[in-house]
Symmetry: none
Subunit: 223 residues, 4 copies
């Protein structure tokens, strides 16, 4: 019937569509995150967004649509911000650490929305659920590429890269999922640093270790 990644609108002016959708999704994400998908009503979203109930249905076909775009936005942020954080960085190890750090920082920014991903993906229509899962896989590939480059370059010893990437992802997500247990023990930067100690450094080769030391010195000088 409809392509899974698209959302149709009654309104034609594309600029207006973009603005309104942003406004609605922003309100929806806030409420979905706070109270969950089913406890959030369309009337709540309308009030939070400062518009009328009817207007939401000019920009979204149904409530599922609103959730879908909310979740899609989270994934797109991952897919945009991680590559952006790697721009201009050449060394594979530095790229890997930057990617992990960027992932954690996006999670921090979209903390509630990330939790929403875990809670509400199953509330989506089946085809869209797959679309969201695919997005997650694409993000994983970004990390996987960094990790493999490190191994290929001899900076990390050969490991189960597929599984280690999942540990990176889970580590980042944990910052949102277990925030109640983590936030009063670590700052975001400390958390990233500790993560690298646990999930990157143990696999460094001698060559990798040397490179790592150099980056750290460089970074310290920057601060």
């Amino acid at each position: 019937m409809s392509t899974p990644g698209t959302v149709e609108s009654v309104v034609t002016d594309p600029k207006l569509v973009g603005e309104r959708r942003q406004q609605i999704v922003s309100a929806a994400t806030k409420l979905f995150s706070e109270q969950g998908y089913y406890s959030t009503t369309i009337q709540h979203i309308a009030r939070e967004a400062g518009i009328s109930v009817g207007l939401i249905y000019q920009y979204f076909r149904d409530k599922d649509d609103v959730l879908f775009l909310s979740l899609k936005l989270v994934l797109e942020t991952y897919e945009n911000e991680i590559p952006a954080a790697l721009e201009g960085i050449d060394h594979p190890l530095e790229r890997l650490c930057a990617a992990i750090g960027a992932y954690c920082r996006v999670v921090d920014k979209l903390r509630e929305a990330t939790v929403l991903t875990y809670r509400s993906t199953k509330s989506l229509r089946a085809d869209r659920r797959i679309f969201i899962k695919d997005g997650e896989i694409r993000t994983n590939r970004l990390l996987e590429a960094c990790l493999r480059a490190c191994i290929a370059g001899g900076h990390l010893r050969p490991v189960n890269d597929h599984l280690l990437v999942y540990q990176y992802v889970l580590f980042a997500h944990a910052w949102a999922l277990k925030q109640w247990a983590l936030r009063d023990r670590y700052s975001l930067d400390e958390y990233v640093e500790e993560g690298i100690k646990l999930l990157v450094e143990p696999f460094l080769t001698d060559k990798g270790r040397a490179a790592m030391a150099r980056f750290k010195r460089k970074q310290r000088r920057r601060d």
Copy 2:
């Protein structure tokens, strides 16, 4: 009004209460896991359990109660089976590996219910949400004790034990949360083995490495 960990019943016969509740919770867990809390109706649960709607309300005060007992059962399984798996094992390293393996095995058994934990805890009343969180913390402590014993015994080098325990937990949970990506690449046993390679072995001391080798030989002989 009511203690958060208890659920009241109209029916007096304790044996019957136990049986019926088990029957209802079992049906509910299945449906909650498949469709989520809000999409599962009391009618569905009743039909799945092969009883009438009214009967559910003889054993549970409301729908929240049913969810609560479902989640509580998952936690109790963790809290019972992990210590049981450690019984008779003395060496700290072996205990740690056994605990991780046991955790993964419980997750495998309660795969759907574990996902439910992530999705639906927020649907609970506030006091019960805390009760469930406390259960998770208690489970974490079981792992933490194993890990610390390894470090204290000089089998693992000093690490951020608090954070590493979370990685163990996430690793186990991932078997349920990311099953769609993991199950056709690893058997459960392989998964546990790979996990130990990634999250335990890198931190072994020389002493620990020797002990580990011994266990593996012993285990290979057992198979």
Copy 3:
């Protein structure tokens, strides 16, 4: 199908039937009076009566039956106690005053149940509603006979006896219906006395006034 004034029972032993019904109706009247017919459940009644739910259905066909017998009991009390109070009294005026006093005293005894009469008669099946109304009319006739005797005997001047009897009834019922407004201003005896001043004495003939004075003297001596 069934005669309106009767209630059938599964149990045959007539003595037991009488006892159990009394026990159930007594509990029911209390609860119906406190919370109304619809807010009182059969389970409440069973608990209050100290028996099982099923047992109620051995002595009553349905909930309507229980209400009916509760209301019938109130009427029967009126019909029994008012004539009893008149026994041995000869003078028409004294009989009228005694009847009014007796009515008020029964209302006082069955205060809650009398209110129930006003609230719940309409909840009965149509034929039984009429049966209850007839009971009320029979009670009225008791008063009417007293009043007419007074007029016939020349103690009261001719009045609209039909309507005045209603005022007597309402006056008595008011003791239950408006108890919140009356009980801290009058004792029951004062209330009756004031009622006679308002609703009997103004209609006394000279002959009646003389007789009345005599009774009052007699009564004062008795106290």
Copy 4:
């Protein structure tokens, strides 16, 4: 939480709120009166009012709210129409008779709703029950003022005014409560006339009697 005398609405347009509430209360009063509060369903009310179930909940918080507003309307009619009937009348005795007549006429107009007052006030939330009782007391005071003016002016001899006012109220209410016994014997006007004969005239002083005669002559000329 909420002031007892107010009822909130989701709809903002005050004109519409007024109209719709009137429409709903009117349907509700009819059904509540016929079948009682608990036997009347929201579905019934919606059908009777010619609207949907959901709409009722845009104008009332719950079913209790609907009953409350229905009862409140009855009291407000009393409080408005009795003073209106006294307007332009100066003589205390004439005012008293006009008040009694007006009360009976309102009861006649709101016959069913008046019965509802007796049956269903107890179904209300406690604070609102008190609110309704207060309304009744206010109405009583209107009559009390008239009665006292008559006594103060020497038209009636001193009597227990508090209790006599209750007799007036009960007399008026009886027109609704006992309609099945009264309506085929008296027209409304005859009923009022007979009431005055029973509950006013017996207490007239000579001065009052003279005034009363004058009014009656005047009234007869008017007819």
